[in-house]
Amino acid sequence: MQRNFLKTKTMNIEELFEKSLKKQLQHLETKRKTIFIFYIIAIAVFLGGIASMVYYFGTYPGAEVKDHAGKIILSLIGPVILGAYLINLGNKRVPAYKKVYKKEVVEKIAHSIDPSWEYDSKAHVTEEVYFESRLFNKSFTHFYGDDKVSGRVGKTVFESSELHTGSFQNYTDSDGDSKTKWVGVFKGYFFHADFNKQLEGETYVVNGDLESTADTFQSTSSNTRGKKKGTNVALENKEFAKTFMVRSTSQTEARYILTPKLMESLLDIYKVFKQPMHMSFLDGKVYLAILFYSDLFEPSIWKSGVNIKELNKLYQLLNLNKTIIEELDLNTRIWTKD
């Protein structure tokens, strides 16, 4: 039976909204609207320039266009310059707006879940930890991230952040021209915590497209390069087996980790966001990466921030740290690991 995480969290966020977030959001709304207005006027100016171009070309037949070239060029260049200036004014205000939003809203939501947690909007999970997870083996040249949350839930220490990795690659298109494209490796939410059992091998649990699955399962060890890590593990839970692919270096250890209860919990976590998930259990830790196609924890300029639905999404994301630890029962330390 799936626990209903969504209903509980909506009630909590409504209380938080009324008690402490409403005033800040209304103040931030003024800043957002200023930026929004700059952008809207810029779009209107561009459209105005295009409209006037259409008007001139419509009014003056072909031969007379040359005589009015100055007016036509001005009617195009003017709006372009003005529009670009307005966009620039808006863009200059965006970083400050986002900074205040993260401080006044995201951090407050994180502390409402647990006041001892640390939130840093500029920090992220390190490259070292990303590599240690062995979840994504494709090389990358760029590693971005933000919105790091770290702390403890009961006995379990955790850390999470948004991460974005990938590289710019050169290629030749069908016309023979040299171009550059962005090839992403991972974009989304990255979490890691102590696991509550001793682990000797490596176990991977993946839900995703063929390419990302192949990337996680690809061995990077020098003597097994080109092969897959471990062997397939066929588990008894049919729904789990349909949702996730599992590979492990030990059939027994995979089942030691993926107990019937843990499999149900992972399914429940998956059902909250229904996004591709990659997990690894190795070196005494659990790593979880959830792929998201949009930016996380970023306020929208185009939608009002005074919006319970958007706040609830933020709450769910931040509360995921606690949800994972509680659902996976990581605070139960009845085995040999403390």
Binding site: Q198, E236, Q251, T252, A254, R255, Y256, T259, I334, W335
Partner: protein
């Protein structure tokens, strides 16, 4: 060489390759079952090694459960016999599991024992071993299911018949163990 001859030779080669593949597959599955049982056996031995320490720790406190402790000791002595068949090992393991659960239930009535450091460490180790045994059983059952599928499903069943392979039993929890442990019933022995 005529076309028909070539086709016949090719068909024979393909058939031979299929038969070889099925034969190797069955051998691999059989070895995986043995390997999985070996893995379970290792964990059972770990549990057997822990029992004397557990008995000597709890018997200082548990004065009313002498019969239960004696039963576990006897079962353990039988279980460490190297000449036991696989079925006998499984049967004894089930009995030991039931008896160990009885001890853990009885421990609840002894607060001093529950707070004892040696017992707490032993309990953690026992929990670890029990989790490993449970995982090893599941791995064994998966290997047996895979093997049984190979033996029973057509066309590998033909090759399995020629190799005189028979299906194996999965590790089942006996009815006695499935019922909630009734501590009173255990102490009747």
């Amino acid at each position: 060489m005529s076309t028909l001859t070539i086709i016949i030779i090719a068909a024979v080669v393909v058939l031979a390759l299929i038969i070889m593949s099925m034969y190797n597959g069955l051998i691999r599955k059989k070895n995986e079952v043995q390997n999985a049982f070996g893995g379970m056996d290792v964990q059972l031995k770990k549990r057997h090694d822990l029992i004397p320490n557990l008995i000597s720790t709890v018997k200082q406190f548990m004065t009313h459960e002498r019969d239960l402790l004696t039963k576990v000791t006897e079962l353990r002595s039988q279980a460490i016999n190297p000449d036991l068949s696989s079925d006998a090992k499984v049967d004894l393991d089930n009995q030991i599991s039931g008896a160990m659960k009885g001890i853990m239930v009885a421990v609840e009535g002894y607060p001093d024992l529950k707070a004892n450091t040696n017992f707490l460490n032993l309990q953690r180790t026992m929990n670890e071993v029990e989790s490993q045994i449970s995982a090893a059983r599941r791995a064994y059952n998966a290997a047996v299911t895979d093997f049984n599928n190979g033996v029973q499903m057509f066309p590998s069943s033909i090759i399995a018949g020629m190799m005189k392979l028979q299906t194996k039993k999965v590790f089942e929890i006996p009815e006695v163990q499935r019922e909630n442990v009734n501590a009173k019933e255990l102490f009747k022995n």
